[in-house]
C-alpha cells in the first residue's frame, strides 16, 4: 500500500466532508417536500384552555374543617399525578401536603401561642414565585417560568437531577426521584406520565388541566378552600381577596414573591 499518513488523512477528510454535505442535501430535499404541501405545520394552544397573566392561589384554611377535607385535597393531586408512596420520609415525593402553622410560618410563631394554634394545619405546595430561585439555579432550563402565565414549570425530559433547585428553593417544595417511582404508585393514571428515576418534580398548578379548561385538581376537590385565578385581573376572586383582606405568604422577606397567599381569619376567625 502506498498511502502515507498525510494522504490517508486527506482522503478521510474529504469523505467526511462529503458525508456531511450529503446530509445537507437530504435536508434540502425534505424541505422541498414540505414546501410542496399546502401549508407549513404550526403549533397552537387548546381553544378551551384557561388563560391568565399571572395564576395565583388563595388558601382559605377556615374552609378546611376536618382532616377529611385536607386528605381529600391531597388525594386528588396524588392520584391524578401518579405520586408514589415509598413509605419513608427520605425518598418522599409530594406536590401538595399539609404542615402546621408553627412550621409553615416559622417567622410568625411566638411562644405564647396555644398548642391548638401552633398545630393548625396549612396546605403547602409550590409557590410559583414571581422571582423563582429554583429557575435561576437550574443549569439546563429544565425548570422555567412560563412567560405567559407565570407558572413555574418542570421539563422532566431535560432535568439532569443535579438538585441545585432543591437547595435553591426556600420552601421545600421540590422532591427528587431517589428511586424508581413506578412500583410505588398504587394505581397508575394512564393519562398522566409518571416520572423517571433521577429527576426533580413538583406541583405545576395542573397545567395539563388548565389547557383543558379545568381548574387544578386540588382547587376542585377543596370545595372553596382553595381559590385559584388571575392575579392580574382586577375582577378575579383571588385579586379581590388579596387586595382587600389580610393574607400572608411564606417567607415573603426573601423577595421571591410567592403566588400562593394564605387568608388568615377568613370568614370565621380561626
Amino acid at each position: 500500500m502506498s498511502v502515507n499518513r498525510r494522504q490517508f488523512l486527506k482522503r478521510a477528510g474529504a469523505l467526511t466532508a462529503l458525508g456531511l454535505g450529503g446530509s445537507f442535501v437530504l435536508t434540502g430535499i425534505r424541505g422541498k417536500i414540505a414546501d410542496a404541501a399546502s401549508q407549513t405545520p404550526s403549533y397552537q394552544k387548546q381553544k378551551q384552555g384557561l388563560v391568565a397573566k399571572h395564576w395565583a392561589m388563595v388558601v382559605d384554611m377556615s374552609k378546611f374543617k376536618t382532616e377529611e377535607d385536607i386528605e381529600r385535597v391531597i388525594q386528588s393531586c396524588d392520584t391524578i399525578h401518579n405520586i408514589p408512596d415509598f413509605g419513608n420520609k427520605k425518598d418522599e415525593i409530594k406536590w401538595i401536603w399539609k404542615d402546621d402553622f408553627e412550621h409553615t410560618f416559622t417567622e410568625s410563631k411566638n411562644e405564647y401561642l396555644t398548642e391548638n394554634f401552633k398545630e393548625l394545619p396549612f396546605m403547602i405546595m409550590c409557590n410559583h414565585c414571581e422571582n423563582p430561585p429554583c429557575v435561576k439555579a437550574c443549569p439546563t432550563g429544565a425548570t422555567f417560568k412560563r412567560a405567559d402565565d407565570g407558572i413555574v414549570m418542570m421539563d422532566y425530559h431535560r432535568c439532569i437531577g443535579c438538585r441545585f433547585c432543591m437547595g435553591a428553593c426556600p420552601f421545600g417544595a421540590r422532591s427528587f426521584n431517589y428511586r424508581d417511582p413506578k412500583p410505588h404508585i398504587k394505581t397508575i393514571n394512564p393519562d398522566f406520565p409518571t416520572r423517571t428515576i433521577g429527576v426533580v418534580e413538583k406541583c405545576t398548578f395542573c397545567v395539563e388541566r388548565l389547557e383543558k379548561g379545568l381548574k387544578p385538581a386540588c382547587v376542585e376537590a377543596s370545595k372553596g378552600g382553595l381559590i385559584f385565578g388571575d392575579l392580574d385581573d382586577t375582577n378575579s376572586e383571588v385579586r379581590k381577596i388579596i387586595s382587600s383582606k389580610f393574607t400572608i405568604r411564606r417567607k415573603s422577606e426573601l423577595g421571591t414573591q410567592p403566588s400562593v397567599y394564605y387568608l388568615v381569619g377568613g370568614e370565621e376567625s380561626v
Binding site: 425534505r30 417536500i33 414540505a34 410542496a36 404541501a37 399546502s38 401549508q39 407549513t40 405545520p41 404550526s42 403549533y43 397552537q44 394552544k45 387548546q46 384552555g49 422555567f144 412560563r146 405567559d148 414549570m153 421539563d155 422532566y156 425530559h157 397508575i188 394512564p190 393519562d191 406520565p193 409518571t194 416520572r195 423517571t196 397545567v207 389547557e211
Partner: protein, 124 residues
C-alpha cells in the same frame, strides 16, 4: 513473513469471534415486524409531508418541546388538520402493537414509555 503462522492463526480466531452472531442466527427465520397497512397509513397521515417512519423521532421531539416549554399542545399539520399532542392518545388510538412490534424488530428502545403509558408490552 516474520511470525506469519501466529499472525494468520490470530486472524482466524479474530474473524471467528466476530462472526459468531452470524453463525448463531444462521438458518433462523427472520420474521419482520407485524405492520398493519391501515395503521401505517394512519401513522403517516399525522404529517403527510415527511416520511413518518424515518422522521417521527424528530417530530415528536419538536412536539415535546413545544408542549412542555411553550404550552403549545396542538399540532396543525401541513394539511391543516389539528392533532392533540399526546403520546398517550397516539399510542392509545392505535391500541395496537404497531409501534411496539416495529421498535422491537429494529431494536430501538425509546425511553418515552418509561413514563408515558403506551400500548401493551411497550413498557418493560
Amino acid at each position: 513473513m516474520h511470525k506469519g503462522g501466529r499472525i494468520i492463526a490470530s486472524l482466524i480466531i479474530f474473524v471467528g469471534l466476530f462472526t459468531i452472531p452470524f453463525f448463531y442466527n444462521m438458518g433462523k427465520a427472520n420474521a419482520g415486524p407485524e405492520i398493519d397497512a391501515q395503521q401505517l397509513a394512519n401513522f403517516q397521515s399525522i404529517e403527510p409531508s415527511i416520511n413518518m417512519v424515518a422522521n417521527h423521532p424528530q417530530l415528536f421531539n419538536q412536539w415535546r418541546n413545544q408542549f412542555v416549554q411553550n404550552g403549545q399542545t396542538v399540532y396543525v399539520n401541513s394539511e391543516g388538520k389539528s392533532i392533540d399532542i399526546s403520546l398517550e392518545k397516539l399510542a392509545g388510538d392505535s391500541s395496537n402493537q404497531f409501534c411496539v412490534s416495529c421498535h422491537n424488530y429494529t431494536a430501538v428502545k425509546p425511553t418515552c414509555w418509561d413514563c408515558h403509558s403506551g400500548p401493551e408490552g411497550a413498557r418493560k
